[in-house]
């Protein structure tokens, strides 16, 4: 009788133990496959049927109407929308989990630019060529570059984004074209007792964006086309020096070292900054926020560079096909639908998302709706994607840590750049 009392818990424990040992046999490696890539990539190329589209939170409310329209026209190949969380890290992890589990239910997904190389190198993305080819004619060149890894197209550009220079039109009649010009205009800021320039300098992804912009605008680069570290150059040092000197001289206010996008936007809207680098989303808020003191006075311009427009860091998303999908022909058609002119136009008018088709930037209707479109076009035309490398987490950490230390004056620019080079090399050497 007493033995029965413990039999149940012991049995439960035993079953648990058994299931774990049975199923969890291999703990080694990173759960990736190399040979599997070519195998899976060749499957289901002609498959047609219902598919699932996975994307992070649809803040712009464009996905559902688009899918409804598709479903009406394709009753046998309906698309289901799987909406992920709002956080980029969680979106990334969710995709990784499902790829590792070879989940056939994740057919087509929206991926952040910085994940494309990683996913492609792990053999999870279908190369968009031959039967599943997608045409990239008419698309902004920098966006296509961000979707390419190892000279193969692994995703199609879906929506774009670039850095914009917001400035006080009432204090500065003509926006600066170069960085040096902007620094000279800082006298105006001092006269008005406000900060001169701020971007995003907190130690997070935004710092990589800003540091990359500084480095790329000065003619340097972080990694070369084959993904190898290439930051140890005099141009890169010059670019980083621009930021470091501006911070030292007070042209970048001291508290800006803690700014992410929101803090900078709030400072600009409160009238505390003369120049501010941020994404296009600020336009609407600065114009309509109750607390915005600059709604009638702010203007937008491309980022200042060395001799002309600077190289902004490309933002946005690409749409990719999973190698594990069972209905790849449907997915290919869906991707074509998303990258079509009609959908791209809808992205702009309905969602205020920058399209990837070049000609839409000169379209009159869109420019009326999004007055910053011409500025954004210059920005994206001159944009450089953040380092295209499968080791992006390690590379962005290398950039952030060293740029932050340089900004704070904890190491010289030379030391920061050579440490950055060494760290990126070490990441790629694994």
């Amino acid at each position: 009788m007493k033995s029965k009392k413990f039999l149940l818990p012991a049995a439960v424990a035993g079953v648990l133990a058994l299931s774990l040992t049975a199923c969890g046999g291999g703990g080694g490696g990173g759960g990736t496959s190399s040979g599997g890539a070519s195998g899976d990539a060749a499957n289901n190329l002609d498959g047609r049927g219902p598919i699932t589209y996975v994307q992070g939170k649809d803040n712009s409310n464009v996905v559902r109407p688009l899918i409804e329209k598709w479903n009406a026209a394709h009753p046998n190949e309906k698309v289901t929308f799987k909406e992920q969380s709002d956080q980029a890290d969680q979106q990334h992890d969710d995709l990784v989990q499902n790829f590792q589990a070879k989940n056939a239910n994740y057919d087509v997904m929206s991926v952040d630019l910085i994940w494309v190389a990683e996913f492609a190198a792990k053999g999870w993305l279908q190369p968009l060529k031959d039967k599943t080819a997608i045409s990239t004619d008419g698309m902004l060149e920098s966006t296509v570059k961000s979707a390419t890894y190892n000279n193969t197209l692994y995703a199609a550009p879906q929506s774009s984004d670039g850095g914009i220079l917001y400035y006080r039109g009432d204090l500065v009649p003509n926006p600066p074209k170069t960085w040096d010009e902007m620094m000279k205009m800082c006298d105006i800021a001092k006269q008005n007792n406000i900060g001169c320039y701020a971007g995003q300098f907190q130690k997070y992804e935004g710092l990589t964006v800003n540091a990359a912009e500084a480095i790329n605008s000065a003619g340097g680069k972080i990694v070369d086309d084959s993904g190898k570290a290439a930051v140890n150059s005099s141009e890169a040092k010059a670019g980083l020096t621009n930021l470091v000197n501006a911070y030292k001289d007070g042209n970048i206010p001291t508290e800006a070292i803690t700014f992410q996008e929101e803090q900078g936007r709030q400072a600009f809207e409160a009238g505390k900054l003369l120049f501010h680098r941020n994404w296009p989303y600020v336009y609407n808020l600065a114009k309509t926020d109750g607390s915005s003191t600059v709604k009638d006075t702010f203007k937008m311009a491309p980022l200042p560079g060395k001799d002309g427009p600077g190289a902004s860091s490309l933002g946005g998303h690409n749409i990719a096909m999973s190698v594990y999908s069972k209905n790849k022909a449907t997915v290919a058609d869906f991707i074509k639908y998303i990258t079509s002119e009609e959908t791209q136009r809808f992205y702009a008018t309905q969602g205020s998302l920058a399209p990837v088709l070049t000609k839409l930037y000169d379209d009159q209707e869109l420019v009326t709706k999004l007055p910053y479109l011409p500025v954004l076009k210059t920005s994206i035309e001159n944009a450089v994607p953040r380092p295209v490398t499968p080791f992006y987490p390690a590379v962005t950490k290398a950039v952030q840590d060293n740029a932050y230390a340089a900004l704070k004056g904890e190491k010289t620019v030379d030391a920061a750049i050579s440490d950055m080079q060494a760290a990126i090399e070490s990441a790629g050497a694994k």
Partner: protein
């Protein structure tokens, strides 16, 4: 009556009687068997949920993370790594592009290992020191009889009951640039944005949350000391400080050491507060945060680091129990009554 003594009934609550030697041995044997039967489910369950994953982690730590095959551009399995993952952390050895190893450059996770170790120990020492001193003070107050004592005791449980994640967000809000901390002190400190303010912000939040818990544990120890001892000392002319030093401290020491042991081991594992308040930035990366960051860059290296972490914690626990007399096992098995 004599039959009762001979009955080897292990379920009888007869553990405190003194039977004859023969039946004592038999009793211990049957009790032993019975005890292990009762313990089996717990021990098996613990083995499954702890030992199995940990063994798995140790095995993983001797594997290499998958690397990029330069020919194909795809990732391929790492293969065995020997002690490479461990030297990566402990000796700061990172692989160089051409093969061989080089000291881990700043900007890699590997370079942060010793800093994190230092940060973790710093937090541990400082928070436990504050919590012990403040907790002792609170315990002494709560040991006195006064009206409203149960109100204080209830209030003291509130910080303990609030989930750490909520505490972290709350203090994050208090220490925001425009938050109430700056307004109260009239300062303009970027609490979570600069190094030492960030460290102190985390320490303050942790001390707030955990001091009441320490106070309760110490109070339990204080309440074991009979009043007569104090009375006798007063009669002998001992001052307050002497009474504290010669009576309170020694008698409270067992309970105090156990409380300190628990708190130290908790603090060494600190994750929630720094992860939510500063995401580990500005020199607040603890070992646990470093492991979680590494998971995203390479599992097997992360497994090596987490193994190192728990070995460190066990070492500290061992030192406490062996040399500093923190006998948690005794505390659990003693009846809680004063000697």
């Amino acid at each position: 009556m004599s039959t009762e003594l001979q009955k080897p009934d292990a379920t009888a609550a007869a553990g405190h009687t003194m039977p004859s030697r023969e039946s004592a041995d038999r009793k211990q044997l049957t009790q032993g068997r019975w005890a292990y039967t009762l313990l089996a489910p717990s021990l098996i369950l613990l083995a499954v949920v702890i030992i199995y994953p940990v063994l798995n982690a140790i095995i993983m730590s001797f594997q290499k993370d998958s690397g990029l095959d330069p020919a194909t551009g795809f990732f391929s399995e790492g293969g065995p790594a020997g002690f490479e993952n461990y030297t990566h952390w402990l000796l700061q050895q990172c692989t160089a592009p051409g093969g061989g190893s080089v000291a881990c450059p700043p900007g890699t996770l590997g370079a942060q290992f010793w800093d994190s170790m230092g940060t973790t120990f710093f937090f541990t020492v400082v928070t436990v020191a504050f919590e012990t001193v403040l907790g002792f003070w609170m315990a002494i107050i709560m040991a006195r009889a006064f009206r409203g004592r149960s109100l204080i005791r209830a209030a003291v449980l509130v910080p303990w009951a609030i989930p750490t994640a909520v505490t972290a967000k709350l203090w994050f809000f208090i220490f925001a640039f425009e938050g109430i901390a700056n307004k109260l002190f009239g300062t303009q400190i970027l609490w979570t944005g600069s190094e030492w303010p960030a460290k102190w912000a985390i320490i303050i939040a942790d001390v707030w949350k955990t001091t009441p818990f320490m106070a309760l544990l110490i109070l339990a120890g204080l309440q074991l000391i009979p009043d007569e001892v104090y009375e006798a000392a007063k009669v002998d002319g001992a001052s307050t400080w002497q009474r504290f030093r010669l009576i309170t401290l020694p008698l409270v020491k067992p309970a105090l050491m156990v409380a300190i042991l628990f708190r130290v081991l908790d603090a060494l594992r600190m994750y929630d507060l720094p992860a939510i308040m500063t995401q580990g930035a500005n020199g607040t990366t603890t070992l646990s945060i470093l492991v979680v960051q590494q998971i995203r860059q390479g599992f097997n290296t992360a497994a090596a680091l987490s193994t190192i972490t728990f070995l460190v914690i066990f070492l500290v626990a061992f030192i406490f129990v062996r040399f500093l007399g923190a006998n948690a096992v005794d505390a659990a098995t003693s009846s809680g009554k004063a000697k």
